[in-house]
Amino acid sequence: MKIISKLLFAFLLVTVLSCRDTAKEEAELNATLEEVEAIDQELESISNEVETNAQELEETLEELDSL
């Protein structure tokens, strides 16, 4: 009888461990993906800003050349 109860307990443990909370994992994954996308967009805006500043500087440097 003891063996059976031990086995049942082991079975219960395995069941609990194998039943993962997939919905929660999915939500976490979604959140991460959204964050990565947001980072991607931010990178885009940062590089755009640097690029516009560089272009403006180039224009003024051209003016300096003609001084």
Binding site: I3, I4, L7, L8, F11, V14, S18, E26, L29, N30, T32, L33, E35, V36, E37, I39, D40, E42, L43, I46, S47, E49, V50, N53, A54, E56, L57, E58, T60, L61, E63, L64, D65, L67
Partner: protein, 266 residues
Amino acid sequence: MKNNILKFVLAFFLVFGMANTQAQDKATEIKKETPKAKNEIEKVKDQKSDFDDKVDAKGGTFTDAASTMKGKPGQEKGNASKENMDEMRKLRLEYSEKLKATKDPKEQAAIKAEMEEKMEKIKKTNPPVAAETVTNTSSDENKGGGTKPMEKPKVTPNVTKGKPTVAMKDEKIATAKEKIEKERNDLAVKKEMLVKANAKIEDARARLAKEKEEGNLTKGDIISKEAKINAAEAKVKRLEAAIKAAETKYDEKESKLSDFSKDQKQ
């Protein structure tokens, strides 16, 4: 009794374990196939958008042998064939009544001939070939006289609405990291540009000082030139600040991305 129960429990565990491993295998297979499927979906989407663009560019103009139909192709050809069928059905009904009314074979033959004539007229005004094939007139493809039917690519519905996977996340993180690396290289180029700009500004200042000494310039000229040099300096400072900000932000984002990767490994 105990032995039997033990056997039963062991068998149950065995089945349970096998089912679990099978499910895991399936999950890994799906993970592997996800990027392939995504690529295929992208291809099909491109094909579809190309087709839509072509149709939009041609203004939905399609021709048959005699006339030009404008509007949506499916709608037009559908309407044409429907009208055709209706008219033919009416004709058949009309003439079948006439045929029933007369028993004289000569009259019946005349009625039949008349009916066939009318049927052919209807077929000529709306030929079934035009209803089936969709061709365009304005494109260069058809200038050679041949008419090619445009095939709409098949689109698998709801394939993109898949669940997010770890592979997708990894891919996105990797691409974001690559982007950061690329942007850093761009920043290095911009830094070189800053050095060159500073040298140019110095050079311009030296030239201005020399011209001032020589007394070749009016006061207005001096002021405008100084203003231009100052503006250039301000722009250099702005770009320097933007580069610094970008560097710190890139570091920040990179560490965030690394955290995402670490979380997943844990």
